[in-house]
Subunit: 641 residues, 2 copies
């Protein structure tokens, strides 16, 4: 390791105290630290490598936290964290994981917001500046001096970033927008603006049309955005400026990653390699569920491209994470569109494609679909266009609090006209994808891509030499078809995969393997000697319409229904089953004993931050022993009546 | 009436068949028709008056539906409807109301989408063009030739419109984006882009920076956007063009509205006057709930401005509808910000203001809050910033299907950390607003502005000389305060406003007066001679946390709980009450008779289009006789046990 500067930096004051000649060496030390950290721990290394000098220069020139820096997405805030008292979390392996991957006010007064989604920094900065202006202007009275937003060129293509640019100029007072232009989004940059940005770079910032000027903003260009001296000079010149200005700096993403590192990390292309979600050390492991099922889906669609000109896969900027490999994208040609980080455009675009007779398949994370909620409802569901959405990363996981997949069911399941399918195996997933992309007799269809619990069950079954899912007992055929959204929907009926009595356990999507495990537990004599229970197990297949025939049929031999979902229960699916029974029973049941009892299991209404999934399952009682105990307790109460 | 052309126009072919010299007269006839229609029926008249000539020219030059025109928001599609077979709906009073106020594919093959929210036209058009390009290119094979998006300058400031502009250029093939620049948004245009647009107009379209060029788009300018001949020429020149182009036309919103009309319609300023939501004939009526309670809120906040520099009212572009008058805005000065049609920016901006110590109050419609769902969750709730949201137009209403307020509870009530308050009177509304804007000990607080049912109850009480709400029986004090979001929340406890037995009726927000009416019905001997029932009535005050102490206490004297909410029940509040009881009872009740029965009433999961609110209440059984019958039936069942 070069240097020895970092261990002496506990606040931005220590950056200011260095000789200016030492700054390049500090940058080099940070860069080496980042690469080591990335290999051992993983993280957004490429973006941080690109912004090392800019971050050092920001803390050299500005006085955080009186000057307030808002990092867009904040995945590039590792260097900022190192310079604001948190260097040991990157240098000392034992402390890796003691800081989050994004800014967090609970960690430091130098962090303004918890952020993780794209494009909001300028709007947030406008708010900070507005309060400053109302409360006494630049300085101690307001508690704020300069307001600085740091945003990448990839983030610039997202909806709210443009709104922010447009409003920043109107506000008219001090605001410094650092545009960190590394010529790259998550994958490639996409959009007409980028050609003009390239011309702007080529002209040294002098060419027109300059998009920042077009939004009414002042503008300066720094060609070498990895030259700390040039950046210190540029930032010094705009410190305390009396109007909004864009400082456009040209940086190199992944700078300092040597060829060997890059090669070892490259799975999905240059850029994605620099985003080490998993450290290189783990790369011998089998694929996670996102990539595994994403590969399956693309492999099913690809052979159809030749005969189906209108079949299009759309990814708003995160293809690699979802198994949409660079090789696939190249082979797909016009059948693949990366719209940039533009979920809103992507959904409306997909609706337009379907309207004209095409077959769009739009893939992104559950958490990012939140960004286009209104288009999901209006342009898509209200218009009834046959669009397929692949919802990756849905469900309970150890994700950080800005990327949780546990909010998807309350969102998707409550949009009129939209069908949300919850496959419980790779085969079911592909069958659903096949239906949604070959039939046009439906509106929007979202498919919850299977997660780790299902992949684990499938792999375990493979290891045992059996086919997953291992249906026991009677299986309801999926032939008659129910009605959903007015059209025949082959997955509307619940599948009874194990026929028992007393208790019926519904395992929605990822929770289906748990339902099977609970049934297996119940089938044995319990630890305290209670008799075995022969539970019914049901795969509901979807969570947007109730199969009331199935729910009613259960009354004959069951007194208890259990719903399991790995998403927020509040506003979710289980509540609807419960509400159905409660209202039916209140009006129709003359005998209390005939009322159906219901137990619901799912995630609490809360944000969780990097809590391991297994811990969350326990917290929410989504484990076989916990559910078994609740079922035995409920049935015991009932039998005592 | 001038002309007599309209009665002979049943399709665009009839526009093409006219002598070109007759086009101005046709436009004059359309303009006269629009003004008359506006006075008698109401509607978005100003925007349609501005785009008369452009619409005539579009149908003169292009061949809809082979050429596909997408009107942004589509509030300006009246002229288009007149020229595509629906003129009688505007000329014949008996047929007013037979067409919707927006484009609708069910009405005509010339309407591409059902739209009502801003900024999506370019993205939708990109989708139409993409399918065309994949399926054989311009012409009969693909079923699509030119793709045309028509978007106003006000819409341009919305997030997704920028994403669309950025993606249109990249797509690279035929697309014509008509920018209808009338120098006006819903209220004033807001944002740095508009200064540059003004320079562009002043230079005849030649100045730089040109924002459309900056997005990589070709560009032409038509100074007189109300000269049908010039427009026909301009559109003819770009018909079948092989790349995307912006045709920037300069029009006059409200052209043809004479001074007297304008004066009579002006309540909130020039622009808003031209949006006759209610025809002039009705303007003697008292204010609706939105404006009434909006006025109350602003009147409460305004006196505080002098002493509270950080108190800011934010409106993303629709102030007038929500009682935020032009006079208020002028007096408020820096304490009022119109961000343009930018809900996403507005929410992040508000979070930034609060973070820096300010007190933001953000007002817009329930339906428009959908556009910023991700910011509500991430930038706001996850960050716990003390922001107040005023949610106007929430609840069941006769709105069109693009502006329903019935989806708000599933959205707001399921965001962790956000408090959604549901006042049942003007006094409660102001009390809640006072708390949320004076305490900082809370995260995001959304207040569901009272709607027509509450205003009607308050006015009826006034007429009777009593204070509303007329609480009968014991009233639980609102002093102890519960816990919500970790902080003391004075409205966390449910208020028991009428203490009875057997059945407890929860009237959430707007449904509180109904709860009182039902209790009054039940207190009498029923039509079939059944005994009076002394019901308990409860105002839950909020729908984001359960007052479980209250729910448990009810068990003592009640066997039935009824929830009433004027929003979608699926994913809503009543389901949570039901789920609470069901889970408690399944685990704890050894005696079936002790289980709490629950009946839930609310809106179905469906889109409704201009169905009168009273009809929807009946459809959803949200009327006193229907609920009374259900309650009597449920209690009868129970008593038979």
């Amino acid at each position: 390791m070069v240097g020895g500067f970092l261990e002496h930096i506990s606040s931005p004051a220590d950056v200011k105290a260095l000789d200016s000649g030492d700054l390049p060496a500090l940058c080099q030390e940070i860069r080496t630290t980042l690469v080591r950290y990335g290999k051992l721990h993983g993280g957004h290394i490429g973006s941080n490598l690109g912004i090392v000098e800019a971050t050092v220069a920001l803390h050299r020139v500005f006085d955080s936290p009186l000057d307030k820096i808002v990092f867009d997405v904040s995945h590039q805030s590792y260097v900022h964290k190192m310079l604001t008292g948190r260097a040991p979390a990157y240098t000392d392996e034992r402390l890796f994981g003691t800081v989050t991957g994004f800014t967090n006010p609970q960690e430091s007064e130098h962090d303004m917001f918890v952020l993780g989604h794209t494009g909001t920094s300028i709007s947030l900065a406008c708010g900070l500046a507005k309060t400053r202006d109302l409360m006494g202007g630049l300085g101690d009275a307001s508690g704020t001096r300069n307001v600085i937003a740091v945003i990448g060129d990839g983030s610039l293509s997202s909806a709210i970033a443009f709104e922010g640019l447009n409003n920043a100029a109107e506000q008219g007072t001090n605001m410094i927008i650092v545009v960190n232009d590394n010529e790259m989004s998550i994958a490639e940059d996409f959009g007409g603006m980028y050609g003009q940005l390239a011309r702007l770079r080529a002209s040294g910032g002098t060419s027109q049309p300059n998009i920042f000027n077009a939004f009414g903003l002042d503008y300066r260009y720094v060609e070498d955005g990895n030259d700390v001296t040039a950046l210190v000079k540029a930032f010094s010149q705009v410190k305390d400026i009396d109007h909004p200005i864009v400082i456009h700096i040209h940086t190199a993403k992944g700078l300092g990653l040597d060829a060997e590192d890059a090669a070892a990390g490259v799975k999905e292309g240059r850029c994605e390699a620099n985003h080490w979600q998993d450290p290189l050390a783990r790369q011998g492991c089998p694929l996670g569920a996102r990539k595994h099922y994403g590969h399956l889906a693309m492999a099913q669609l690809e052979p159809r491209f030749a005969a189906e000109p209108g079949l299009v896969v759309i990814s708003p900027a995160t293809p690699g994470s979802n198994g949409i490999t660079r090789e696939f994208r190249e082979r797909a040609g016009r059948h693949y569109v990366d719209t940039g980080i533009t979920e809103e455009h992507a959904v409306a675009f997909a609706s337009g494609i379907a309207k004209a007779g095409g077959t769009p398949v739009l893939a992104t994370s559950a958490t990012f679909f939140q960004r286009t909620f209104d288009q999901l409802q209006q342009e898509l569901s209200l218009n009834g266009t046959p669009v397929t959405l692949l919802v990756f990363g849905a469900g309970i996981s150890g994700a950080d609090n800005t990327h949780s997949g546990a909010f998807d069911i309350p969102m998707f399941a409550n949009i009129p006209g939209l069908t949300y399918l919850t496959p419980t195996s790779g085969a079911a997933f592909l069958s659903m994808l096949d239906w949604s992309t070959t039939s046009r007799e439906h509106g929007a269809v979202a498919i919850r891509v299977p997660g780790e619990p299902i992949l684990a069950a499938e792999r375990a079954a493979d290891a045992d030499g059996v086919t997953y899912p291992r249906y026991r007992g009677a299986v309801t055929a999926v032939d008659a078809g129910g009605k959903a959204g007015g059209a025949t929907m082959p997955f509307a009926q619940y599948r009874v995969t194990r026929q028992g009595s007393d208790v019926a356990i519904f395992g929605l999507g990822n929770m289906y393997p748990l339902a099977e495990r609970i049934a297996a537990h119940l089938a044995k004599t319990s630890d305290d000697g209670a008799a075995p229970i022969n539970a019914t197990v049901i795969d509901p297949q979807q969570c947007t319409s109730l199969d009331t025939a199935c729910l009613e049929a259960l009354r004959k031999r069951h007194s208890l229904v259990v719903t399991l979902e790995d998403a927020q229960m509040s506003g979710g699916w289980g509540e609807q089953v419960t509400t159905y029974y409660a209202n039916q029973d209140a009006l129709n049941s003359a005998d209390g004993n005939e009322c159906m009892r219901v137990l619901n299991f799912g995630a609490a209404k809360e944000f969780t931050d990097r809590v391991p999934a297994q811990d969350l399952y326990k917290r929410y009682s989504l484990t076989a022993p916990q559910v078994e105990q609740a079922i035995r307790s409920a049935l015991r109460q009932h039998l005592c009546e």
